[in-house]
């Protein structure tokens, strides 16, 4: 390595002090003139190249939440009071007490843009990143989920992107030994060129294992461990190189990051063993902004300083500059703070797991983040200025011009199926649309069995995993989001996303406890998008308060748009619930003939943004279904009691496609037909998407007790018929065999994507 040359060319703190006029490529690094000036003011001089690199990544939208932070505060400000929250917003992931000395942590995060550029690696590294967030809390990652949205199913680009994304999630998650317990798959033209790839990870720990990202204790060592640092994800830094050295010096930089799930698996086991041995004072994952982020956040959280020798960082590419090392987003790395006396034991455990580990610096009492490069000082900043004092913008927001017209164009003029035969055709059309077709083509690529704790996974409403074998303690998780509802009304749409995820968790018999969210939106510089964003955040925060479930963490993804066209506002909401005994969890399929079928909740004519309007008529307009949070809460309480008392055999929530689709799904999954009669307008009962509804199969003999429970809980219950028979028979309207339903449902995704 040409040490002298590298050191000679580097921009030092001393040099910066005496060359205030040197032009710096702040704009190419994504900083505004105002932000650049602010950096100069904070430092009292111009930044060095390395400092500029740090601020540019730490103050990016992605890391600083500069457009969203002012609004995200509502999640904390309006959060319902709860004793269950051991760590909340602001940590790598929120931590929730679930009893028996266990706590769980979970978070959802986006990897949208990288997954469009290179679907396989983009999605794979998305899983890797969120798993490290969970690991950084001291938890063992125990399950993953994925919420996916693509352009039209038949579009050539979807054929490129979808199989790659699913393959990447499968590759990375399976190789880590994390069961995939659920997720989402949606198609809409608005996601062409902007697929949404949101990955969720769930972790579990004993209370005492909780770790925080903090660098306390002067003299403690800073250890970087995991993969080597390479020139990944440093597009911006090459600007610095060419500005400093007149170009031509920097080697070709990769356009994508490649994940190494094997290293991540070793990193997980290694971290858990280090944590169990009590060898870590602080722990942080390296994600976006890499070493810049890890060092400045660790030091800022502790209010300490840190001295880092950048030339100690093991490199995959020796031509990397100091700024590039600071910005590199190389995967599968963690940073720990370790007492000097523990370093050798720490290293021994890393060696046993074949995880490279290097001491790169020390905690200091200076309150400064000081970075050196071959003996020269290249960074000297107050870490909190990078980590916590980024710009905060109140961006202008305006209700979009076409919003009233959109809301005025309701679905009431759409032609409705009138006869039994037409109702039957409508059901088949919905079931055989890519939007509602069987997801097995995707979910069969995911291992849901590994670890032996998965009680429910796809196609059930919620994923359920056991935490504790003796007691049966476990958790349920579901994610939901409906871009069409949010496009029509982002405030209500975000609440409906929460309501649906909450309902899915309740359908398993679990008690909903906490919320994570991934807010996928267009450009915050577009006032219409900003309006959608603020409406959604406000709606979600309000609904969380009403339902009594706090937001514990999440992620914002802006700039999901092609040119001027933004995606539908798409907040994806994950709800976590707890089950005292997973042996009482409810599946979503009908397996026992003779069970009574009961519809819970009440149905109104609600077709705005519905699957029927979208799939049959290609129509989007009007208003989404009414949000009924009190009814959701009552429903969840009834379900929880009924599951505990063993009154139910199955429960399936009603959402896209209404009762008709729910019936078909529950019948197909369990291999049983059903006979039902509809007390009212068949079309409305079958296809409306009113919320706060669920379909349940009552355990034979428990009908009376269940009816009493519903009555006491204020939940309307309508007996529709019974489970059993060769197909779905709707009295007086139509019947359709399971075979015909299965064929319509199951061949769709294989035919599209098995090429």
């Amino acid at each position: 390595m040409s040490t002298a040359a590298a050191a000679g060319a580097v921009d030092t703190v001393a040099a910066a002090a005496i060359t205030p006029e040197r032009p710096q490529p702040f704009a190419a690094l994504g900083l505004t003139a105002g932000e650049y000036t602010r950096i100069r003011t904070l430092l009292g001089r111009r930044p060095t190249d390395c400092e500029l690199a740090i601020y540019s990544v730490m103050w990016s939208e992605h890391c600083s939440y500069k457009s969203s932070r002012a609004h995200l505060r509502q999640f904390a400000d309006k959060a319902p009071r709860t004793d269950a929250l051991l760590a909340g917003i602001g940590e790598n992931a929120g931590v929730v007490d679930v009893g028996h000395g266990y706590a769980v942590t979970f978070k959802i995060e986006s990897h949208n843009h990288p997954s469009y550029v290179e679907p396989f690696q983009g999605a794979a590294t998305g899983v890797g990143g969120i798993v490290r967030d969970i690991l950084a809390m001291g938890a063992r990652p125990i399950a993953v989920m994925d919420a996916l949205r693509f352009g039209p199913a038949a579009a050539p680009d979807t054929a490129r992107v979808l199989p790659g994304v699913v393959g990447g999630i499968s590759f990375y998650g399976n190789c880590l030994g994390l069961p995939n317990i659920g997720g989402e798959l949606a198609f809409d033209p608005c996601y062409s060129g902007n697929p949404l790839v949101n990955a969720l990870c769930l972790g579990v720990m004993r209370h005492e294992d909780l770790r925080r990202a903090t660098a306390t204790g002067e003299g403690n060592k800073v250890v970087l461990f995991g993969s080597g640092t390479g020139p990944d994800g440093i597009g911006g830094a090459s600007v610095l190189a060419s500005a400093s050295f007149g170009g031509g010096e920097s080697a070709k930089r990769p356009s994508v990051q490649v994940g190494d799930p094997f290293m991540e698996k070793l990193l997980i086991e290694c971290c858990l063993e280090l944590n169990a041995a009590g060898l870590m004072v602080g722990l942080q994952d390296l994600g976006a902004a890499g070493i810049s982020c890890a060092t400045s956040e660790l030091a800022a959280h502790a209010g300490t300083g840190m001295a880092v020798r950048l030339d100690e960082v093991p490199l995959r590419d020796p031509t990397m500059s100091a700024a590039e090392i600071l910005m590199s987003e190389s995967q599968e790395r963690m940073m720990a703070v370790v007492k000097p006396g523990d370093v050798s034991e720490f290293m021994a455990i890393c060696e046993r797991w074949e995880v490279p580990a290097t001491v790169v610096g020390e905690v200091t009492g200076t309150g400064r983040l000081e970075v050196s490069w071959h003996g020269e000082q290249v960074v000297d900043i107050a870490p909190e200025t990078a980590a916590d004092q980024g710009p905060v913008y109140e961006r202008p927001a305006r209700r979009p011009a076409g919003q009233d017209r959109l809301n005025g164009d309701g679905p009431q003029h759409l032609t409705r199926p009138a006869t039994g035969a037409e109702l039957r055709d409508t059901l088949l059309a919905l079931l055989s649309s890519p939007e509602l077709a069987d997801r097995a083509w995707v979910t069969e690529q995911y291992d849901c069995y590994v670890r032996g704790e998965t009680v429910l996974a796809a196609p059930h409403d919620a994923g359920v995993v056991r935490l504790h074998e003796d007691s049966g303690l476990g958790v349920a998780l579901a994610t939901d989001g409906n871009g069409r509802y949010c496009r029509l009304d982002p405030y209500a749409g975000a609440q409906l996303a929460l309501a649906e995820a909450y309902r899915n968790v309740a359908a398993a018999g679990a008690r909903p406890l906490a919320v994570t969210n991934c807010l996928n939106f267009g450009s915050p510089e577009d006032p219409s998008v900003m309006w959608q964003f603020i409406e959604s955040v406000t709606g979600l925060a309000d609904a969380c308060a009403t339902l009594g479930v706090p937001v514990t963490g999440g992620n914002v993804s802006f700039y999901n748009q092609t040119g001027e066209r933004a995606i539908h506002p798409t907040p994806v909401v994950g709800v976590l619930g707890v089950l005292a005994d997973v042996r009482r969890a409810l599946p979503s399929r009908f397996t026992r003939p003779g069970a009574a079928l009961v519809l819970l909740g009440s149905t109104a004519q609600e077709f705005g943004g519905s699957a029927w309007a979208h799939i049959v008529h290609g129509h989007l307009g009007g208003h989404p279904p009414t949000v009924r949070l009190a009814a959701e809460r009552a429903l969840a309480q009834v379900l929880g009691s009924a599951a505990w008392d063993g009154l139910l055999e199955a429960a399936h929530d009603l959402s896209d496609g209404g009762l008709a689709v729910a019936l078909a799904e529950a019948c197909l999954a369990g291999g049983q037909g059903c006979r039902v009669s509809l007390p009212g307008d068949p079309f409305t009962l079958l296809f409306s998407e009113s919320g706060a509804r669920m379909l349940v199969a009552v355990a034979p003999g428990a009908e009376g007790a269940f009816a009493a429970l519903c009555e006491a809980g204020g939940v309307p219950a309508t007996t529709l018929g019974t489970v059993g028979g060769p197909g779905i028979e709707v009295t007086g309207e139509f019947s359709v065999s399971l075979g015909e339903l299965a064929e319509a449902h199951r061949e769709v995704l294989p035919a599209l994507f098995s090429g």
Binding site: F120, K252, R253, P254, V256, D260, F262, M263, R316, S330
Partner: protein, 86 residues
Amino acid sequence: MTEGGQVTRIIVDVMPKPEIHDPQGQAVARACQRLGFGEVTGVRQGKRFEVELAGPADDSALARVRELAAELLANPVTEQFTVRED
């Protein structure tokens, strides 16, 4: 494979681009070291396809296979390929 007629065999080598992280090659290199092949300083692992075509081995056959490689056999974002006659 084919009944009569001319058969041409074209080789397509697909390798990870040099600037792209290759954890697989690194793992193989580490395994070499452990097995006592200490002189191995690096390994990159790629794919090799032998494509059999009906018809003569002319420029148009090569061009077609190049098209095929770009579309199916290699991932243009992370891999590079070479096409040649066997």
